[in-house]
């Protein structure tokens, strides 16, 4: 378990907030988290949204929809250490070697998560049946044509893709800097890492796992990356072929998960989430079959932002899993099973054996 700060993830979070301000704030409010976005974050969002350039639109759309790819696109060159700070500049890799590695890793995840085929099969497909691969990319639900374009570039014109990525990252970095958000985040994180032991982060992580009832596969290394842009939010535990990653808000470490959350409190918040009519209908629908978020918009007839608000709450209550790569949402039946068992325990109602 290694805890550090990878600045690019903080930027990713700020972009995510900029494009989803309403749902993000509403989720935290419903959960009773006292959250107020910083002036710097609002400034960043406003300049970002005002930037009418098409490249900015493509870049932010892609980063927002496939934020989960960030660790692949911005690989860390150094050996990972506790308390390490890696700036955005340091994670831009445009050497031929780096380019190959990024493409390789992307192929691996895409084969594994999307096509459910081996790495080798996909490489063969890319050479022999490129149109098949392009078609498979098209079928990824819940992503826009901008993102589809970028994935295609990465497969077939990796140099263009990386040039585009680097140029735009640097451009957005300027906005990030100008808004003062970069300085604020770096200062806050540095101050935290210098004055606190990384054990605190690990404890918070363990409370997080307990709260969400997650047991990660221990054979893979686990990275905890702090972020300060939206300090009460995390990415959800993401699993890659060779590691796990959780992007955690700094205030989750210092407040939300600083202690173990009592079972009853957790149960109360879970049942409250479950008792809402819309969320209940969504869960019922998902229970018959996992579907992408887009389908839920069609099914409920609600606005996309309303659905993403409910998804946020269900996710934060551990009632659903969202496959970050395919956007497919499924019910975490385990959470429901435990909730029912907890109710039985609390009220001493034994299960009647048939």
């Amino acid at each position: 378990m290694i805890a550090g700060y990878f600045e690019i993830y903080d930027l990713t979070m700020a972009i995510h907030f900029s494009l989803n301000t309403g749902p993000v704030e509403k989720v935290l409010k419903t959960l009773g988290v006292d959250y107020e976005p910083t002036k710097e974050l609002i400034d960043f969002r406003d300049t970002l949204l005002q930037d009418g350039e098409w490249t900015t639109r493509m870049y932010t759309t892609f980063m927002n929809e496939l934020g989960v790819m960030a660790p692949i696109l911005f690989p860390i060159k150094q050996k990972m250490l506790d308390g390490m700070i890696v700036t955005i500049e340091e994670s831009l890799n445009i050497s031929d070697e780096g380019l190959q590695m990024i493409r390789e890793r992307f192929i691996q995840v895409f084969a594994d998560r999307r096509l459910k085929v081996s790495h080798e099969t996909l490489i063969k497909m890319l050479l022999e049946q490129p149109s098949e691969v392009a078609r498979a990319i098209d079928t990824i639900e819940g992503i826009s044509t901008d993102t589809i374009w970028f994935i295609n570039q990465l497969f077939f014109f990796p140099r263009t893709a990386m040039d585009f990525l680097v140029a735009n990252t640097l451009k957005i970095l300027k906005l990030y800097e100008k808004s003062g958000l970069r300085e604020l985040n770096l200062k806050t994180i540095r101050n935290y890492l210098e004055n606190q032991s990384s054990q605190k982060i690990k404890d918070a992580f363990s409370n997080y796992l307990d709260y969400y009832d997650i047991t990660p596969d221990e054979s893979k290394p686990l990275y905890i990356a702090l972020q300060n842009s939206v300090s009460h939010t995390n990415s959800g535990l993401m699993t890659y072929p060779t590691f796990h990653l959780l992007i955690m808000g700094l205030e989750e470490v210092t407040q939300d998960f600083s202690g173990r959350i009592p079972r009853e409190v957790r149960l109360q918040s879970l049942l409250k989430m479950l008792s809402d009519e819309t969320r209940f209908r969504i869960l019922k629908r998902l229970n018959t079959q996992p579907v992408p978020q887009k389908r839920l918009v069609e099914f409920t007839g609600l606005a996309k932002s309303t659905i993403s608000y409910h998804m946020g709450l269900l996710f934060k209550s551990s009632l659903i899993d969202i496959d970050p790569f395919s956007n497919i949402v499924s019910v975490r039946k385990e959470t429901l099973r435990k909730a029912a068992a907890d109710i039985r325990n609390l009220l001493a109602i034994k299960e009647k054996k048939l």
Partner: protein, 358 residues
């Protein structure tokens, strides 16, 4: 047991007074029960008439009617046969003729239903041992001063009580009529009476009694009194003077859903919502360990008795807890059977073999 569905208009006035007296309480319980209750324009007008009336007998009557509405119903004659209506005028006429007889039933009901006396104690009290009543009334800390005063008057000065009561009823009846509430309620009630058959009433009423663990007496008819003013009547079952009744919501369909042993999504969600409330969860856990009474729960949880009573009302309406009288106290316990079937429904969610969720 014979069941007689019918309508006593005074019940509606009592409901309107109860709402005027404890508006936020009724709103909170309605919210817990998942009923979106907003007083209609007629009820709002009625409330305004009451607010603008500074006569103290009216203030006292509203407070008393609200607190012991189940007992006040014993001032009325019951519907003579199925589907009949007893108007306010009929109730007042009958009170003129036999106030003492009716007052005696009301006192008996207060002792049985509000002060939780045993049958033997009631007999002793009504046999002339009025000290028992005075003492019990004094100790009944959840009754307001107005109500204890009214009870004492009823026992000691029947003549004066009659005058005050008749005055209050005359005024309240006028407000009830002028606000349009009377006309509205009669319209709704006639509609229900026409569309619901005798058998359907029986079915809903039997489900109601079973769900709430009410044991009605076989020897007397059970009156099913409908009310349309509130979504949640706050009165369940009362017995006195060989008469017994339950107060049912005019929205019988809604009631049918609750009393049906089949747990709907709505009922499951209501359970989840109420159980997720920290105080309600604590109360349910406490009564799951052993039957407990209000004072005991208040001490245990460090909350006021009024707060505990409100939470117990909601839990009781949802049939999650049931009450049993014992030595002038009501002991609440967990309704395990009901909760078991609700949990089963939740469990069906993740048990693949069960497709009841589809």
């Amino acid at each position: 047991m014979r069941m007689v569905p019918g309508y006593v208009e005074l019940v509606e006035i009592l409901m309107a007074c109860a709402y005027a007296d404890k508006e936020s309480y009724f709103d909170s319980v309605s919210e817990d029960l998942g009923v979106d209750f907003k007083p209609g324009e007629e009820l709002v007008r009625f409330l305004r008439f009451l607010r603008d009336d500074s006569n103290w007998p009216i203030k006292v009557a509203v407070n008393v009617f609200s607190e012991i509405k189940d007992s006040v119903i014993f001032f009325c004659d019951m519907p003579p046969s199925s589907g009949k209506i007893v108007t306010v005028e009929e109730t007042m006429e009958s009170l003129k003729n036999d106030f003492r007889g009716k007052a005696r039933c009301v006192v008996e009901s207060i002792l049985l239903n509000n002060l939780n006396f045993s049958k033997e104690e009631v007999e002793r009290a009504l046999g002339g041992d009025l000290n028992i009543v005075a003492e019990a009334v004094d100790r009944a800390s959840d009754l307001s001063e107005n109500t204890t005063w009214f009870i004492t008057q009823l026992v000691n000065f029947p003549q004066q009580s009659q005058e005050i009561l008749m005055f209050a009823l005359t005024v309240l009846k006028r407000y009830y009529e002028d606000s349009g509430l009377r006309k509205k309620n009669l319209g709704c009630i006639n509609e229900t009476m026409e569309s619901f058959g005798q058998e359907e009433y029986k079915e809903v009423a039997s489900g109601f009694l079973e769900l709430y663990g009410v044991t009605a007496r076989d020897e007397s008819p059970l009156y099913l009194l409908l009310q349309n003013t509130l979504q949640y009547p706050g009165v369940r079952y009362a017995y006195a003077c060989d008469k017994q009744f339950v107060v049912l919501n005019n929205q019988l369909k809604q009631l049918e859903e609750i009393v049906n042993p089949y747990i709907t999504d709505h009922i499951l969600r209501l359970f989840l919502k109420n159980f997720s409330d920290p105080t309600k969860m604590q109360i349910m856990v406490a009564v799951s360990q052993e039957p407990r009474y209000v004072d005991e729960l208040a001490k245990l949880l460090g909350l006021s008795k009024a707060t505990i009573s409100y939470h117990l009302s909601s839990l009781g309406e949802l049939a999650l807890v049931t009450g049993r009288k014992d030595r002038r106290r009501i002991y609440f316990s967990l309704n395990r059977k009901r909760i078991e079937s609700i949990i089963k429904r939740l469990e069906a969610f993740y048990e693949e073999s069960d497709d009841s969720w589809k």
